[in-house]
Symmetry: C2
Subunit: 439 residues, 2 copies
């Protein structure tokens, strides 16, 4: 009994809630109370203005015409424009928004790379790697196989949906962990470490899957080539980056103009994105690698601070666009023909949750650990899941119901993770037989 | 003699050079030594990659085809594309770059507004206003009249070119002044104050002139309506802004997401730009007004810091685009038919310099003052002059030689101002008879 309560105390003490004086600031009433992460607001906002509901923001690649867009209709009425002029504005407006969204996702991945501190992995590297690998393999395997065998989805879309299930959003989990005061706990460090490795694995998978989508067939040799080239690209740029770091800082120090840090950094990110694209991988892989490289410099903090406002402006355009392009009406339960799409969505959500929860039980070792908390901490797909959905949608391989199912899966996992995580950290620790061996 | 040297001492002491210990940092070798402002680098870079030289960055509105663009030719060779595909990429690429440049100029004017501190004008407001008004009236009058009477330029392009002559770049002058340690001197404060008022007057003039360009005719009633509406819009938004300030801060404080300051600020800037456009004025007038409004909030510094990286990324796109679109080859002196364009360019440069230098002698009062320094400080057109050139070029009213002449005028005034300013501040003070009345 004594030992059990000691171990309870130990774990509790590593997870003290934030001191009460930090909560003296007036509490916001809305989204914060409900624990809705901002990315969810942007995505749902996109759904509301998009093809699913208000039809304000429409895109011609969905087969929409200028007359389907409410904004274009208003514009036509205000400006007294001819239908041809409106069609041309609609086309170029959509092109511009799509490019801004693409810039947004590149900046997003650059920022994720900048914030992924690979050195921090040292302490929990071993266990985080296992959690990440299980958390990638189980949802990917179960999702892809389930879609192919249970629902007869063709192989490429099934792989894409499976890949979207592998993502873990580090941002949402680490925010909740920090609110609970558990970010520095062992569980917290494993979750964050695993999410970083998960990002790396996920982006390699995405690069491979998106390339498969371009050719339209799964050739084993090609898959091997893509996996090797994506890994070599990422590891190679990290290794080369150790030398390039100093050159970069020297360039930034020599420049005497405004933006002497942020302009070379963004230029480097776009150059790496171009390079990745040139060897038939995804642009975001390059941007992510660029972020990892520049993360190692002394100017990291300063750079981070300057990239944040740029990301704040461009990244929401990407999330809103993903939401606006996804036609969730194909999952409207009132229409009988939507039944299969709804079942697929339910299947994806179940795999998404259980495929990550099991990761907690992949940790071996004698230290008692909150396995449920680790598993639950890996659940939210957040922005990374949306990157998969967005690129899948742009490649045209996803059917409308499958795309909508992925979006619903991202929304639900992101929405449910914060309350689940609070619950998991409040639940009791591991059984007493493990607490016996606390040193 | 005593009095004279006292006054020399007085002026010298307000203009001490920056202490030597600040110069211990390794001196950069290139642009800084040559005093080339960054905007000049971006503009000249644009000229080099644009239609005048390398033909890398071309725009269809100049009548260029996809095959004229070297980048498109390379793209076609790499991607093995059909001519139709390349034409379509060329069109949409140009559209995207133009929109990014437009976003850049809106952010630029928003930032100029944010940095224009109207309260600072108090001390030197009276004299700064006179300097600004003379510095707007003389170049505008002389430029427009000269172009119409001497060179038979039609009235609208002549007014546009005259308007481009009114600009003063606060950034370049204040940077040189601060290097000379003269920013806080009486001359420095008058120059900076006059440049702020000049911005306000210049943007009102631009709004009026650009509206005239749209209708294509100069109707006195319309001009009066435009001047009144532009002034009312600007003054009205500043007055209303005093109340809106608190609402804005309250909104930003309530938001709990990332970018809670910069997203509402940029949204407000774009909304004001839209509003200005809706009442047939220029979008940049609205963005400038938004900057003036938010400049009054407590969050000013924080906001400024976050807008800077966004401006650093977007504004250079505008300057490079202006440079790339301007065909300076129409001023090549080797071709005889270019003679008239060259004479126009020379005329504009002479008016640009003398029209501003005279402003120094518009100051009356008994205090001795370095009149030459004030006049010279108003010379650089910099970014504001380029905004005129860019909008004039987009409106299509400027002939190619006139557009090129304006660009050359901006380049030369911006290039010459820093050395001129150093010389003017080193030159002796006002004659002794004025020094007598120092009290």
């Amino acid at each position: 009994m004594m030992r059990f309560s000691r171990s309870v105390l130990r774990i509790r003490s590593t997870c003290l809630p934030t001191p009460p004086q930090l909560n003296l600031l007036p509490l916001p009433q809305g989204s914060k109370r409900l624990d809705l992460p901002p990315v969810l607001g942007e995505l749902v906002g996109g759904v509301v203005v998009g093809v699913s509901a208000l039809h304000l923001l429409m895109f011609p690649e969905n087969g929409a015409l200028a007359t389907d867009s409410v904004i274009m209709t208003i514009l036509q009425a205000i400006g007294n424009l001819s239908p041809e002029a409106v069609t041309s504005i609609f086309q170029s407006q959509s092109e511009v928004i799509s490019v801004l969204a693409e810039l947004g996702v590149i900046i997003l991945l650059f920022e994720i790379g900048l914030e992924s501190d690979l050195r921090e992995l040292g302490k929990v590297g071993y266990q985080a790697t296992i959690v990440a690998c299980v958390g990638v393999a189980v949802p990917f395997g179960a999702g892809t196989a389930g879609l192919m065998w249970l629902f007869d989805v063709p192989v490429i879309p099934a792989i894409f949906a499976g890949a979207a299930l592998t993502a873990t959003s580090i941002g949402i989990t680490s925010k909740v962990l920090s609110e609970l005061g558990c970010l520095k706990s062992r569980e917290g460090q494993i979750i964050v470490g695993a999410a970083v490795i998960d990002d790396v694995l996920g982006i390699i998978i995405l690069a491979v899957v998106a390339s498969l989508a371009k050719t339209g067939e799964v050739d084993v040799l090609n898959v091997i080539y893509l996996i090797i080239s994506a890994s070599v690209f990422l590891i190679g740029s990290i290794l080369l980056g150790k030398f390039f770091n100093k050159t970069f800082i020297a360039i930034a120090d020599k420049l005497q103009t405004r933006g002497k840090l942020v302009i070379p950094a963004i230029t480097f990110a776009f150059f790496m994105a171009f390079l990745a694209n040139a060897i038939h991988l995804e642009a975001i892989l390059g941007a992510f690698a660029a972020g990892l490289v520049l993360d190692e410099t002394d100017k990291r903090k300063e750079l981070d601070q300057q990239v944040i406002p740029i990301a704040d402006i461009l990244v929401p355009i990407f999330f809103v666009t993903v939401g606006a392009k996804a036609d969730l009406s194909v999952l409207n339960p009132a229409i009988p023909s939507n039944r299969e799409g709804l079942i697929i969505a339910t299947f994806l959500i179940v795999v998404a949750i259980f495929g990550k929860v099991v990761t907690g039980w992949s940790i071996f070792g004698k230290t008692p650990i909150n396995r449920l908390a680790i598993g639950v901490g890996m659940i939210p797909r957040g922005e990374v899941g949306l990157v998969f959905a967005g690129i899948g949608s742009a490649s045209g391989v996803l059917s409308k119901p499958l795309e909508a199912a992925i979006i619903i899966m991202v929304i639900l996992t992101t929405f449910l993770a914060p309350p689940f995580l609070r619950f998991a950290f409040k639940s009791s620790v591991e059984p007493a037989e493990q607490a016996d061996s606390v040193g």
